[in-house]
């Protein structure tokens, strides 16, 4: 004979185990993506892809390639070559599915008078410059994006642990966990993070369908986003989009652990510096002057 109490108990456990099946674990209880098992990850990515297909009407591939072993990414930027043409900014927007109607740009190119240049002080610089032609006499241009710090201030302040540093050095954001408090934006000394104030709009034909879960998959309203060194490309061995877009070859990318890489050649042979080095955030983004 089943007592009333027992009946309710078994009923609830039965119902609970049904809804708690791995399928709904992510959607309802928001288990952290990196804590899911391989199978659960696959199922969640598949449902994410279906959701995107319903929303945008095209097939979007979301993968979650894990970090490569023996790779820590570093970036070099040759300031004596950069002409401030902003080709990288727009290549980045295209590659990383940034919002178009309320434009979000992960790269910001600062213009500063040569005599005012100081890697710790951008008081006299501006990023709204728009002359007929670049480069202009007497100015240098400093593109700034996420510096992928070794000791990232943004990670320290995140109350939900939605952002962290991966073993390959890339600071990533789990958009499902971001609550949009923007503490990280206040903490970042490089103004590298952007916030989706509205539902981001990207025309269907401009969507890049090759995406990564932590990278360029279409974002939603109320989450923070930033440069991930094109995680969807670099984890598959390719160069970031900005490197391939630069018309003067000022942007260099490579594996800091590989002594043959171009970034290591730069570190060995040029005087490199990092922005706001006194803050001890230890960026993996190195600036240098190859000429004079």
């Amino acid at each position: 004979m089943l007592s009333r109490r027992q009946f309710i108990k078994t009923g609830i456990t039965l119902l609970g185990s049904l809804t708690l099946s791995s399928c709904l674990k992510q959607d309802i209880f928001r288990e952290k993506f990196q804590e899911l098992t391989g199978e659960e990850k696959k199922a969640f990515l598949k449902r994410l892809e279906e959701r995107y297909e319903r929303k945008y009407g095209i097939r979007i591939n979301v993968d979650a390639t894990p970090p490569l072993k023996d790779a820590v990414f570093g970036y070099g930027l040759d300031l004596s070559r950069c002409i401030g043409c902003r080709r990288c900014v727009y290549a980045c927007m295209k590659e990383n599915n940034q919002s178009r109607d309320i434009p979000i740009q992960w790269i910001r190119v600062m213009r500063i008078k040569k005599e005012d240049f100081n890697p710790s002080d951008f008081e006299h610089s501006e990023h709204y410059y728009s002359p007929e032609e670049v480069p202009e006499e007497g100015y240098i241009y400093i593109p700034i994006q996420c510096q992928q710090c070794e000791r990232p201030a943004c990670v320290k302040v995140c109350p939900t642990k939605a952002t962290w540093k991966e073993p390959d050095g890339i600071v990533v954001i789990d958009y499902e966990w971001c609550i949009g408090c923007r503490c990280c934006m206040a903490a970042c000394p490089y103004w590298a993070r952007r916030f989706n104030w509205g539902e981001p709009y990207i025309p269907k034909e401009e969507l890049n369908p090759y995406t990564h879960y932590y990278g360029n998959r279409p974002r939603m309203r109320g989450v923070v986003e930033k440069c991930t060194f094109c995680i969807q490309r670099t984890r598959k061995g390719r160069y970031p989009a900005c490197v391939e877009a630069c018309p003067v070859g000022a942007r260099k990318f490579g594996n800091l652990l590989d002594p043959q890489s171009e970034i290591r050649y730069i570190l060995d042979n040029f005087r490199v510096f990092r922005l706001k080095a006194e803050l001890n955030t230890e960026p993996k983004f190195f600036y240098f002057f190859s000429l004079g």
Binding site: C85, R108, Y128, Q260
Partner: protein, 156 residues
């Protein structure tokens, strides 16, 4: 797994295993190539003068003159110092005679642009892909539009 194996090989045998590619010289796609189809029957003139053909070429490369780089007896080849003759696809070694430091940096991937794979096959751009060999300095570019000021980003 494959990538790990590849990285292992990369570290073991630094360069010979990588089959990097370099662009074809720009001249091969020119409708005027091969040069010898006209120049084969013409007698080379070594003096500096105003050209009656190739008037679209503005020579603004220090004090060089055509036959300093182009070979006089075989116009489909280039001159290198010491009487060596090279094809257009080896022109980086000719540029490297004067621009030695830049040539070294190019071989290391610091000067110029590489595309492809940071841990695998790379594609190098040849000097003439970016620089016009006859006037190598870059022309100024029109910049892409600046970011919107915050007050303009409000949705209507």
């Amino acid at each position: 797994m494959m990538i790990g194996l590849f990285l292992f090989f990369l570290l073991m045998f630094p360069s010979p295993l990588i089959s990097d590619t370099v662009s074809n010289a720009r001249i091969f796609s020119s409708p005027l190539f091969p040069c010898s189809s006209c120049h084969g029957v013409m007698k080379p003139v070594f003096s500096r003068r105003k050209l009656s053909f190739h008037e679209d070429i503005t020579l603004n490369h220090d004090n060089l003159w055509c036959l300093d780089c182009h070979n006089a007896s075989n116009r489909d080849r280039l001159n290198k110092t010491g009487g060596k003759i090279i094809t257009f696809n080896e022109l980086q070694s000719l540029c490297g005679i004067c621009h030695g430091v830049i040539y070294t940096e190019w071989t290391q991937g610091v000067h110029g642009k590489r595309t492809g794979y940071w841990n695998g096959e790379k594609h190098y751009l040849l000097c003439t892909d970016c620089h016009n060999p006859h006037s190598p300095r870059f022309n100024p570019l029109r910049p892409e539009p600046p970011p919107l000021r915050p007050e303009k980003t409000l949705r209507r």
